[in-house]
Each structure stands twice: as C-alpha cells, then as structure tokens.
Amino acid sequence: MTLLRVEGLSKEFGGVHAVADLEFSISAGAVFSIIGPNGAGKTTLLNLLTGIYTPTSGRIFLGEEELTHRAPFEYAACGIGRTFQNLQVFFNMSALENVMVGRFLHERCSLAAALFRSPALARAERACREEAERLLRFVGLGEYVGAHSDSLPYGALKRLDIARALATRPKLLLLDEPAAGLNPSEAQEIDALISRLAESGITVVLVEHNMRLVMGVSDHILVLDYGRRLAEGSADAVRRDPKVIEAYLGSGPAAAGTQSGGAH
C-alpha cells in the first residue's frame, strides 16, 4: 500500500533547482532511503516533505490526502514526523519535556484548562509524562529520563530528536542523517533503532551518507543527484548501478573497483 506519493516535485531558489521534477512513492512499512552526493537536494526534499519549504511545482500526497502547500504543523498533524541534521533540540527544557512537546498534537488542552489547572489536565500531564518516559527508553535513553537536555552527549541528542518525533505518533518518520557525527558503535545502535522502528510499523525514510547503514537496513533506495532522480531500487541494484557509481566516485579505475562490494 502506498503511503506517500510525490508527483513532479520541484523547488527553485532564485534560478537554482534544488529539486527538479521528482516522482516517487513510498510503501507503508518500508525503510526507504534517500542518498546522493552533497548538494543533491536531500535535505531540501525533506523540507518539502514536511512543509518547511513550499514546492515551486508538484504535489505531495499522504495516503489519499493532498498535503501540498500546507503549514508544517499540518504535515505533522497528518502523520509525518521528522528529525533534523543539525538538531533542533529545545535546550531550554529537560530531555523529558522535549519529548512531551511532541505529544502536543494528541493532547486536547483548552486554554481555560491550562490557566486554571483542571484536574483533567493534571491527569493528562501524568499520562504524557509516562508516554514520554516510555519513548525515551525505546530509543535507548532510559538513563537520561531526569536529565536536562543540555547535559546530553551528542549521540544522545540525536536519539532525543527521534524520541520527540515519535511522540507525534507519525505514520511516516523522516530521519535526516541520524548517524552523522557518530562513531561506528553508536552508528550500529542507530541501525538497530531503525530496525526496531520499522518493526513497530512506522514507515521510515532515511537520508544518510553512511553507506553501510543504508545498505544494511533499507528496503528501497532512491539516489538523487543535482536534485533529480538518478537511480532507484533495492540496495543491490543501486549498488551496482553504473550511474550511481559515477556520481559518487567518478569514472576511472577507482570506480571499477567498487563493482562488487559495498561502498564502505
């Protein structure tokens, strides 16, 4: 079943096409990776898929609903969650509160209830706290439940970002370079976390440079270059695609050597 569908998507910045004429669809429950050299338009695409950028042309569909031109919070409300390459952690709050923010969508809290501290609100807050704790444990941050966000190490912050995105109960989760800046063992933990996410039924879209991670965990890969689709398919197919090899490594002796193995 197709969860996300993108038609003729383009984004132009003053003459430069960051993304041009993209068309693809993502099946529910899959792990879908988007790779490509730097500047290929990956983050732009993620920004388009979360409403942060408005497309110059093209359409975006989640299930049967068209999301194009809606505000970012509406994308979130419809079920698209996202993490950030440069982290957008709320450093003025505790780790737990960061995750609780993600639950705002699902908490019906009227202004009056907030101002006058209704008992129903107190109960809802308790439930929110428990859910946030559960999510912190799910992503492996159980030890940081009482901590302030600014005392977390970098690897933990990346997972905090994921926990917050999970709190929005997304159908589709976009992970923007979750393994960037992590050492190999931390990257392996992210690998395991992504598998856990996929198992729990969330469709994961992964933007990554870490090829070992990508090749290991993806069901389907989309390769971008200069904002356009370069190749698409299973991990094996993409790995062997000569166009992909050329885009990453150029043509020549080095390229010939990677015909059989993985890129890392």
């Binding site: 910045f13 983050t43 920004n47 942060i52 950030f84 440069n86």
Partner: protein, 291 residues
C-alpha cells in the same frame, strides 16, 4: 502643478533628506554588526546641540560644525566599544535594550550638559525665503538638500573606492569571510559606528535652523529614520535614501492634505503596512534560512 503641492513637495524633500541621512546611519551599523542602534537619533541631537553651544560661545560656524561632528563620532565609537562590543553574540532583544538604554543615558546626559529648552541655530546663509514656482523655500532647505546630495556622493565614493569602505561592505556581506581575508572586523565596526554618528550629527546640524533643537528631538527623528531604513530595505544604502525621501514626502503630503495633528501617525502607519506586506522594503532582498 499647484503652488501648494510644490510647497509640500519641497518641505517633504527637505525633511526626507534628513530622514535619509539618519536612515543611512542605521543601515551602515546594521550592515556591519546586525545591531539596530536605537541611539542613532541621539547623534542627531548631539550634533545640533553641540553646534548651538559652540556658536553661542563665539566659535565660527564651520569650526563648530566640525567639532560637533567629531564629538558625535567619538560618542559613537564609545558606544560601540563600551556597549555593543561587550554584548556581542547576545540575542536581538538584549541588543535592542542595550541601545535603547544608551539612548536614554545620552538623553539624560544631554539634560545635564545642556537643559530642557529649545534652542535655535542660525541658518547658514540667512533666512530670506526664496521663491520657486509659486512656492517659497528657506535657504536652509537648499543647504539640507545640497549637503545630503554631496554626502550621498561621498559615501558612494567611500564604499566603492576606498579600502575601509570596501572592507565595511565585505564585513556586511560575510563577516567570517572578511576576517579570513585579513579584515580587522573590530576596526570596521568602530568605523561603522563613528561614520553613522557623524551622519546623524550632520543631519541634526542641517535641520536645527529649521526645526530648532532640544534634548529630546532625537527620539522621533531616530524612530522615523529607522522607519525609513525599513521602508527602503534594511541594510540597503540606496534603500535608506529612497526610504527617507519617500517617508518625508508622504508625511508632508499627509500633513498638508489630510491632518497635521496626525503627521507622525502617517509615518508609523506606513511602516506597519510595509512590515506586514513587504518586510524586505522597497529595495531589500528576501532572504531564506538554511535549515
């Protein structure tokens, strides 16, 4: 063209030129440091008041003017060094409060150094009105327009041809890159503040014979100069000039044809409209954030 319209037009151009000079001061500082200097209006006040004091004790006008401009520039340097530099990297709100605090401090000092009364500065070349096409214009207005034009030309030369000017421009476009090519950003910032203060002071001196000067004339002039800078596009030199002239003209026309009591409101209504519909102003460029 009716004589009345011409009258308003010339009045608008005159005050618009003053706004343009003040707006240029805002733009130069904003470009160099991304700080909005809410104390800009006080330089206008300092220029006028200092000149009045010096001529009152017998200094010839040109020397008094030079001294006043230098004094204002010195205060501008002090402002950068003691107020803005220590707070580098602070949030927008913090910087706004600091420069507002500086403007209050300067006004307080002005009441101590001078007083709270209005003072007149003698017009540079007499006050016999000149007739132009049925309208009358004060000689001082011609001084205002003429000197503003000269200054704009001088600034164009400064930014286009001198090393310091080009360094200022470079810093405004990309501070890090400017540092990497060896530009001493600290010097550039000081120069920006000094230059803006000088511009403000000149505006104050030019307009003092027309509107009188006092300890608190800087407030409205500063705010309107700021409004003009935003109208033209914050950070754009030509925008500052255009914004100043347009604001002055609209204000004069509005005061003349609609209501003079609400003259000041006109300026701020225009600004609100610009901010809501086109915040980048007439000549500014839209910017996008990288996420």
């Amino acid at each position: 063209m009716s004589a009345q319209f011409l009258q308003f037009f010339l009045a608008g151009l005159t005050i618009g030129a003053i706004y343009a000079l003040v707006a240029l001061g805002f733009s130069i500082i904003y470009n160099a440091s991304h700080v909005i200097n809410f104390a800009q209006g006080e330089f206008v006040m300092i220029g006028g008041m200092t000149t009045v004091s010096l001529t009152a004790i017998g200094w010839p006008l040109p020397f008094a003017i030079a001294a006043a401009v230098l004094a204002a520039a010195a205060i501008g340097l002090a402002l950068e060094k003691f107020a803005v530099e220590p707070a580098r990297g602070a949030s927008v709100v913090t910087l706004i409060i600091i420069t507002i605090g500086a403007s209050i401090l300067l006004r307080g000092l002005a009441t101590l150094v001078w007083d709270k009364k209005f003072h007149a500065l003698k017009p540079f070349s007499g006050d016999a009105p000149i007739g132009i096409g049925g309208a009358t214009v004060l000689p001082q207005s011609l001084w205002v327009l003429g000197m503003t034009l000269v200054i704009v030309l001088l600034l164009t030369w400064f930014f286009g041809r001198t090393l310091l000017g080009k360094a200022l421009l470079a810093t405004s476009h990309n501070r890090l890159a400017a540092q990497l090519v060896g530009i001493n950003v600290r010097t550039v910032l000081l120069a920006a503040f000094g230059l803006s203060a000088a511009l403000g002071a000149i505006a104050g001196i030019l307009v003092a014979p027309i509107t009188f000067t006092a300890w608190d004339i800087g407030v409205m002039l500063g705010l309107k100069g700021f409004a003009a800078a935003i109208l033209g596009g914050l950070g754009s030199g030509p925008g500052a000039v255009l914004g100043g002239l347009v604001l002055g003209l609209l204000e004069a026309m509005g005061a003349g044809y609609l209501s003079s009591a609400y003259k000041d409101v006109i300026a701020f209504v225009i600004i609100l409209a610009v901010l809501v519909f086109r915040p980048s102003g007439l000549l500014g460029t839209r910017s996008t954030d990288r996420v």
